[in-house]
């Protein structure tokens, strides 16, 4: 089961685009309560539309026999892929009506009704896309109602602020913590991959149990040397026993 790159790109891009669209629409309905320039809203919606369109185009890239794609909606009754195909096209006329109403400065109630229809359609599409993967009995890990739920929720995390903050944090982590973790693990006499594990695990622990949001959690220089000095009398550097002892030490330090 080797999914084509275009399938992965489609799933991510169209999910992100639809999630982004939902949040911009919600924001637009609150336009009387929050300050949001017209241009920002239009730019955001354009980005969402771009992502959705790019996803849809990419989903056609890996078809080995594109000329038969016209039949793709003919099994609406049984196939989730077919349903997704039908619903993916449904927002287009609604969006056209929305844009026309938006620039024609239609009444608030009319605009809000169309907005709600668009939001509902987006969620239906997301659900169908999730079910494409969720309905496969042959892949037990996906074959659950949690799969479409997760996909809808994942798309829901796409908003401008989170997107920016998450990607910045991820980049910082990759650039700074990753090599640092590896280096400190070597210095503490541990197998190198433990540096990566400690960088990952401590993020979760610090996020859940950390006492302050300004305290930085990460692999540290001094402690790795201390660990090496403690471990040398007990086990050979880099051995499995050493790793086991370091884990014990970590747990004990955490408990006390």
């Amino acid at each position: 089961m080797k999914p084509a790159f275009s399938v992965i790109f489609f799933t991510i891009a169209s999910g992100a685009g639809l999630g982004l669209m939902v949040w911009w629409l919600v924001a637009s309905m609150m336009r009387h309560h929050i300050r949001m320039p017209h241009s920002t809203f239009i730019m955001g919606m354009a980005l969402a539309a771009l992502l959705i369109t790019a996803g849809l185009c990419s989903s056609n890239l890996h078809l080995a026999n594109r000329k038969n794609a016209i039949y793709a909606s003919s099994r609406f009754k049984t196939s989730w892929l077919s349903r997704e195909g039908v619903f993916a096209l449904a927002p287009d006329p609604v969006a056209a009506i929305y844009i026309w109403l938006f620039f024609a400065s239609a009444s608030s109630i009319t605009l809000n009704t169309v907005t709600w229809i668009l939001i509902a359609l987006a969620i239906v599409i997301l659900f169908c896309t999730g079910m494409i993967y969720g309905c496969l009995k042959t892949i037990p890990r996906w074959n659950s109602w949690l799969t479409p739920m997760k996909y809808v929720l994942l798309a829901g995390t796409q908003n401008r602020i989170a997107l920016r903050a998450d990607s910045l944090a991820g980049l910082t982590g990759a650039i700074v913590v990753l090599p640092q973790g590896v280096a400190f693990a070597t210095r503490a006499g541990m197998p190198t991959e433990y540096g990566l594990y400690s960088a990952m695990v401590q993020c979760v622990i610090a996020a859940l149990f950390g006492s302050s949001r300004v305290m930085m959690a990460g692999p540290a220089n001094a402690i790795s040397l201390t660990i090496l000095a403690t471990m040398v009398p007990f086990a050979a550097v880099g051995s499995d026993r050493c790793a086991a002892l370091v884990l014990t030490l970590t747990l004990m330090v955490g408990v006390w």
Partner: protein, 212 residues
């Protein structure tokens, strides 16, 4: 007899699709599959071969997931086929098939699968005995059978009645059309005692003396 002289029988970079995959499993540690024991606790390993071609299930998953209706189950005889004039080559049905029976033909751009030799079994030009899938005819030990399971007097019905049919993916809710016959009861070989008692040895010695 020498080994196979042609090491690359399909050429250097074979392209194409498998209609009839066969998977080899080595079972060990399960006494029910392997009654002959190496020692008291270690059963001998047993190799079994599982046919992985299309089973033409009653509610075939590749048919329900197909968006174009290219995968279809024929109403007249229940054979699951792919219509190349409707197939988009999405490869999605291959994900849905528990047997890996569907493969994308890279040259034609459509999915290919076992058709139960639909061209052979209805070919009026062939003698009646030859109107069977090629794999059934080719199997030298006659491990494969072809026939109408709905006809209770047919050879396959009698075989399934006497040996039992096994649905190896029953837990996934697939309903049988093709079936695996249950494994035959293994032939029991009487164990030869390694060390005989003194009286047996003495008797054997005496009988040998008498024979001389």
């Amino acid at each position: 007899m020498g080994g196979a002289t042609d090491c690359v029988p399909y050429g250097k970079a074979p392209s194409g699709t498998w209609y009839n995959g066969i998977r080899q499993h080595e079972l060990d540690g399960d006494p029910s599959f392997s009654p002959h024991m190496c020692s008291e606790h270690q059963p001998l390993p047993k190799t079994i071969y599982v046919l992985m071609s299309c089973m033409h299930y009653k509610e075939a998953h590749c048919v329900t997931v197909c968006p174009t209706g290219a995968s279809h189950k024929r109403t007249e005889d229940g054979i699951v086929l792919v219509d190349p004039d409707r197939c988009v080559g999405f490869n999605y049905c291959a994900w849905a098939c528990p047997y890996g029976a569907l493969e994308l033909d890279a040259n034609k751009g459509v999915m290919k699968k076992c058709s139960l030799c639909v061209d052979r079994i209805y070919d009026q030009q062939l003698p009646k005995a030859k109107r069977q899938p090629a794999c059934v005819l080719a199997c030298p030990t006659h491990a494969r059978h072809f026939g109408d399971c709905d006809d209770l007097a047919s050879k396959v019905s009698m075989l399934t009645a006497s040996r039992g049919r096994k649905n190896i993916l029953g837990e996934l809710g697939y309903k049988l059309t093709n079936a695996y016959l249950s494994m035959r009861e293994p032939v029991q070989i009487d164990a030869i005692p390694l060390r005989q008692g003194f009286s047996e040895t003495a008797k054997a010695f005496v009988s040998r003396l008498i024979q001389i």
